[in-house]
Amino acid sequence: MLTRLAEELPQFLGYYNVMLLLKAALITLALSAVGCSLGLMIGFFIAMVRVTRAKLLVPVRAACIAYVEFFRRIPFLVTLMVVFFVYQVVGRNTTVFTVALTAVCLIATSYTAEIVRSGLESVNVKQWEAAETMNLNLLQTLWWVILPQAWKVILPPAFSFFILFIKDTALASQIGVVELTYAGKVLNNKGFSAVLVFGCVLLLYFIISYPLARFGVWMEKNLGVSKTGKR
């Protein structure tokens, strides 16, 4: 086996293959980054809707809660499939990347909505009360008082979710998105040793994920809000 590896290596590291893998790695990263960023924005919005108390918005809030609770409890593969087939029906010619991105976005939104909600709740309720007695309305309170304090509690888990999702993007290979796992299958089908190919793919995932994870840990330490709220 090792001899085979040694034989194949030079051919494996040819220009086309390396470019394929690198482009695929970029797609992997993009899928998670863009999907999670969009998810964060929409999740933010959902969390803020959940904070309102207007009676008119009760059905909207109920829908938000249902959405958040539902999408967190479904496997990514299944979500991907549903989105894929819905696009097929609604379908103009959407790329598989868009399909996958939509699925990532749907799931990221539900997770980040929870993360943002936790972050908002972490701010002492007295801050809300003090703002209320000064006649600040909901948006003003959120913008000037709550969010500036809550973001430190929101960012680390949101970032760590993004890193986590990089691994889930591997499933997008199933609908044909040319991300890292798909690239691996392509190269394996071309005849290269699976050990070489998938070993390499695993290594690339590691190279993408590990530094980001370390950065996440550093960020958490430095944004650390201690229990007394002091810096």
Partner: protein, 224 residues
């Protein structure tokens, strides 16, 4: 839109799908158990071991937590045969999930080890407890309380993670959904139904675990 939803065609397959859900739970359970065993060894190794052991465990954990479970299973299924080891789909999935779980469980159990404050052990010692008694009366209850939430959480994640076994032909819930899809072609209905089933299974599992935790271990947790 030229597509009308016809759930009627799909409902007859419900028992078949539920059977698949049961298999998903079993696979998750087996992988979780195996992972707990690995995790215990790993946590002990990392807490009490020498430099080499710590490094090895650290590398194992780093590797499995920074790479996708799907690709890990691909490696086991496609790459190992080149070294002469042939695994069936079921074996590859199970081993892959177990190894993956083991890495996460190592970290979780390690956190449990660390959470036992020295002061608790000292208090136990001054009260005259033997090592075994310290472990049984002081360490275990504390660790179980601390670890119960992350462990339950991981179990739920793993149950959802079993869905990728479908890619290898395993007939757990998602796999069976693919089968039904091949027969009826009512894709949106089937996968929506499957999503619904995963939701129910997850909620049921969460509920069971939370109640178990409350009654057996007096863990305070929200039910939903």
């Amino acid at each position: 839109m030229q597509y009308t939803l016809q759930f009627g065609q799909v409902f007859p397959y419900l028992p078949y799908l539920i059977g698949g859900a049961w298999i998903s739970l079993q696979v998750a359970f087996l992988a979780f158990s195996g992972g707990m065993a690995i995790g215990l060894l790993g946590a002990m190794g990392k807490t009490f071991g020498g430099r080499f052991t710590r490094g090895a465990v650290g590398a194992y954990v780093s590797f499995f937590t920074n790479t996708p479970q799907l690709v890990q299973i691909y490696f086991l299924f496609f790459a190992l045969p080149e070294a002469g080891i042939l695994l069936s789909s079921y074996e590859a999935v199970l081993i892959g999930m177990t190894l993956n779980a083991g890495a996460y469980l190592t970290e979780i159990q390690r956190a449990g080890f660390i959470s036992v404050h020295r002061s608790e052990l000292e208090a136990a010692e001054t009260m005259g407890m033997s090592l075994f008694q310290s472990v049984w009366y002081v360490i275990m209850p504390h660790v179980v309380k601390v670890l119960f939430p992350p462990l339950s959480n991981l179990y739920i994640i793993m149950t959802l993670g079993t869905s990728m076994a479908a890619i290898f032909g395993l007939e757990e819930l998602t796999g069976r959904a693919f089968n039904v899809n091949a027969i009826t072609f009512r894709s949106i209905e089937i996968f929506s139904l499957t999503a619904g089933l995963y939701f129910l299974v997850t909620v049921a599992a969460s509920l069971t675990l939370t109640l178990l935790g409350r009654w057996l271990f007096r863990v305070k947790a929200k039910v939903f």
